[in-house]
């Protein structure tokens, strides 16, 4: 993609908090990163993980707990959450890649359910209440992430926003670099034809596992960011609904497109905030969107757009 588009997106990200409600943008960034990491698996490796909430929510708990109780600075908290998710990804991934296709999805879902039950039962997660009032702390012990700037009538927590934005860019860049590397080419080969990749001498399982760990770790980073933004880590984050939603974001935006997950995350997050008063009708709308996407819209928004413009986005 051309540099112009990237610069435009970067600019958009930098000025967004002045135009839109910053917490909304930050929520969007967290889920967009989450969806990008998921897309690395589904879109570029052909693995449907139905348990990605375990990494997202698990890391949120770890970051929340360490920042709250051990006085870790936020950047170290995020690092710990990311590493935790990476290790968890290694464990879950090395089990799940023993099965293919539909079984892979079921195994990841079931393993993520173990994480969910641990989150309910373990003493440090706060059970049904979750971890609340997670402090944001001072970045590198210096910069107060709670600091709000007053601009006219607005109060903007810009320190936190740019921290989250920087993390998003880092995560997005890692995903982008992975996709567009020789390693990423092998992943795509596995997606297209696993048997042939094997016959070409690639250790398919190793590639799958590395992709899974990268994806899990970065999904964890997204969860850690979320824990700092909302100062909350809860059971919702580890629930299978969240795993389903990240699938939807990717599907809706366009599986296997670089920008698709961003569009999908934007749509789903907006849907949630617009329908927040509608109770469980949100679930119905999400479900219906799933059905429509699968039946009529398998390329997703960006995929369809790319087809119209005859280029890959």
């Amino acid at each position: 993609m051309s540099t112009k588009i990237w610069l435009a997106l970067l600019f958009l990200g930098l000025v967004a908090p002045f135009v839109v409600y910053p917490v909304f943008v930050m929520k969007l960034l967290c889920f967009a990163l989450f969806a990008c990491t998921f897309n690395l698996l589904l879109g570029y490796t052909g693995l449907l993980s139905f348990g990605h909430a375990a990494f997202f929510g698990g890391a949120a708990y770890i970051t929340g707990y360490l920042v709250k109780n051990s006085g870790l600075t936020p950047e170290l908290g995020v690092l710990a959450g990311t590493m935790f998710a990476g290790v968890l990804g290694y464990l879950i991934g090395s089990l799940a890649i023993r099965r293919q296709g539909i079984y892979f999805a079921m195994v990841t879902l079931a393993l993520a359910q173990i994480v969910y039950f641990v989150a309910i039962k373990a003493p440090f997660t706060g059970g049904e209440d979750g971890l609340q009032d997670i402090p944001r702390g001072k970045l590198f012990g210096l910069l107060d992430l709670n600091h709000a700037y007053h601009l006219g009538e607005k109060t903007l927590e810009l320190n936190l926003y740019y921290f989250v934005f920087a993390l998003f860019c880092l995560g997005f860049w890692i995903v982008y670099r992975t996709i567009n590397s020789p390693f990423g080419q092998v992943l795509k080969a596995i997606r297209e034809n696993e048997q042939r990749a094997v016959s070409l001498g690639y250790q398919v399982e190793k590639f799958k596992l590395i992709a899974f760990v990268i994806s899990a770790a970065l999904a964890g980073m997204a969860g850690s960011m979320k824990a700092l933004v909302f100062q909350l880590a809860s059971l919702t984050d580890v629930n299978w609904h969240t795993s389903g939603e990240v699938v939807l974001m990717t599907l809706l935006g366009g599986v296997g497109t670089v920008l698709g997950p961003l569009v999908g995350a934007f749509t789903v997050v907006t849907l949630h905030s617009e329908l927040s008063s509608a109770g469980s009708w949100v679930t119905v709308v999400i479900g219906a969107t799933f059905v429509i996407c699968v039946l009529a819209f398998r390329r997703g928004v960006v995929g369809e757009l790319g087809r119209l413009l005859k280029r890959s986005l």
Partner: protein, 301 residues
Amino acid sequence: MEITFQTVMSQIMLGLNNGAFYAILSLGLAVIFGLLNIVNFAHGALYMLGAFVALLGYTHLGPLLGVPDFHLSYWAALLVAPLLVGILGVVIEKTMLSRLYKFDHLYGLLLTFGVALILQGVFTNYFNVSGTPYDAKPEVLNGVVNLGFMLFPKYRLWAICISLLVCFSTWYVIERTKLGSYLRAGTENPELVKAFGVNVPLMITLTYGYGVALAAFAGVVAAPIYSVSPVMGAETIIVVFAVVVIGGMGSIMGSIVTGLLLGMVEGLTKVIYAPASSTVIFFIMVIVLLVKPTGLFGREQ
């Protein structure tokens, strides 16, 4: 809890009861997977729907028809719920799933996931998540029976027996009859079966209908035991997925036996270490994946 013969046996029997539901549900998944090659994520939601048909038939149908005294009885619900849900299954297959066979099988999983969310969302909107009790348990099935070594609720014994009967009848039809041989042939090679003049698309539709009717049947049988809740299916289906991974979906008998055994193991875990009972099946799945990744009754693809 003190470990006595009584407590162990009662938990195993209760576990067998749960296991009977796992068996029906995983059997339905296996039958559907065999012919359609999709994993029916909506299975749990349709199980829930079956329970709700029974509940609503009992509490709401009469007033709705203008005959306030009319209640759909438990026995009638055992027939009506699977029938209605089966018809819904046929509609889902005809209008949606049949369009997806030429694409990646994962789309079938995602579509049925969407259907599950829709059903669950609609019912969550009108009914309490923590459950509504179903009071239409027939008189005959009240009380307890003496099994010799323990007293056991009559209804639960009935639930185990009827579930096993349904499971083994299904097994018999598929493995031992002419109709079943078409089905098995269709699982092996649908193109060839088509060439012999068998209406395979119809067979696929009816198979899906039958599979989800089984789920609804389990829902009705479960209704008097657990309270009827919009999320009862979601909680169950994930466990059943693990059951299916452990057993492998290649074998009908395998899925029945695995379901029953794991139910009992779950019950036994309640005696030994209660907090692990909700996760023990997942841990068994981990062990099976490590030792025999294709599942206990699975075949190498």
